[in-house]
Homo-oligomer: 164 residues x 4
């Protein structure tokens, strides 16, 4: 628990969705993650980098390679990745194989951070703690639980993540 800088890579997903009346639709927007960290009064050094801004159903191999490269090339060894929930486990696999020796935790939200009621703040808190406490590896923090990133799936119907 030595205090080391934390890197937050944002990639889009429900956590960063907003609603636009002019279009009558939601879109992923400027990441709200820095605002969430201010609200949480985070006093450890951190850096937020927007890698992309996509619904996770739209991510392809090149996108996942870009996320992995951003994590691997960074100076930080403790890395939080905010991500859409639908393909979070696929990105976890890529990170596990391509980013050795670092502690990574993916998280996101089932309800947008801009909602009055959202799991975004809690999930981001879980991810921040996980990268400080857990040994190197890839984790997923969702549904109140910290999972091994390679042993978890999203149960879309039940609206939660469950261990394999």
């Amino acid at each position: 628990m030595t205090q080391q800088a934390i890197l937050v890579l944002t990639t889009g997903g429900t956590i960063d969705k907003a609603y636009f009346d002019a279009l009558s639709e939601y879109q992923i927007v400027d990441s709200g993650i820095p605002a969430l960290l201010r609200e949480a009064r985070v006093a450890v050094p951190f850096r937020v980098v927007e890698v992309m801004r996509k619904d996770s159903l739209e991510l392809d191999d090149a996108d996942r390679a870009a996320i992995a490269a951003a994590a691997r090339d960074a100076a930080e060894t403790r890395i939080v990745v905010t991500h859409g929930t639908d393909t979070m486990t696929e990105t976890a696999k890529v990170l596990a194989s391509q980013v050795p020796g670092k502690t990574l935790c993916l998280t996101g939200a089932l309800s947008p951070a801009r909602f009055a009621e959202t799991d975004a703040n809690f999930n981001l808190g879980m991810a921040f703690a996980t990268v400080q406490v857990a040994p190197p590896g890839v984790y997923i923090a969702m549904s109140g639980q910290v999972f091994d990133g390679l042993k978890v799936r999203k149960d879309r119907e039940a609206g939660k993540f469950v261990a394999l």
Copy 2:
């Protein structure tokens, strides 16, 4: 990270403060922790027990002994304690000496959970992750950081927790 039930002991503190117009003052009320866990869509088994409802400046030795007893006597080995921030470190010391072999994490909030902007959800998320990931011991999760519960102090003027 085997899924085991988590116990949440609530003791009061700013995290559970509300404002009463009829009295023109803040008071600690029915714990809002269960509502925060619903909002976070926590799907792991958990149990919330209200041990007391006090400002942490009012806690005495008997209160701390009661908190330690509740933690020690519980079946759960992963225990989150919500607590006022002013004497959180004192309670951490008592828990460290009186509750062996369990993973405990104290947390609280600098801004009440009932506020629109609050660190409560994030902090509770950090504590939930810590008791799942960390080895047995006593931790404090505040200010975006997971601290060894015996090596941390609150810097009241700066409004944050810092490592000793």
Copy 3:
């Protein structure tokens, strides 16, 4: 300002939109209007009736006739109508011709009531005051302003209502 019961007719619109992760889309849901009135600590007698649950772009003549009938047939003479913003002015015209002798105020929101930041509460407050204070007629309360319901349009690009 004699205290008389207020009728709230809900018809759908952005004000009642929620986000469903399982579908990755917004949908209009159980009206949140009763919750907004509780939050506002409304102590005057009121009644909320759901007439329909539609995006206002989907409303047709039969829908508008149904809204007008609900307003005309009600015992109350002070009626708030929550409504999508895109065709709010069209419904205002129908109400003006088909519901004589009552004070009606249409309102809605540019940002869903379930968002942390929303104009829903303020707009509903404007509508509640308008039906208590204004003479019989049809009004629209949006963008911080109370408009004659027949002399207003939505400026979609600017994201606000403006007087004709």
Copy 4:
């Protein structure tokens, strides 16, 4: 309903109370009224002037004279006054006798605007509509109702305003 500029005079009260952990107490702070008006997407011209920052139990005759002078001397004829609820009716009497020919509406909140659940937005919306729609005079908008400012009292036990 000609669009004319609205003046908002802030005087303090619960609506502008925040909580300070460093002091373990609440205090009235920089007015949150401008933020509430942005959130409401108010598009009519308005001006916010802080007259004072007091709990309304602390207001004396000189304070009320200052509020009346600010209202009387302003160019605007539609004036919203945010005010603590405990002595709101006393200030209404002073405004009624000292500010002729203008439409004034006092409002406030039973729960601070900074809370996740608050009547502040709704009440401010009621006041904005009232000064646009009502004839000259002094009104109080609270508890979902627009009252004649001279015929209303706060029922402290019941936590609401009631007509005399």
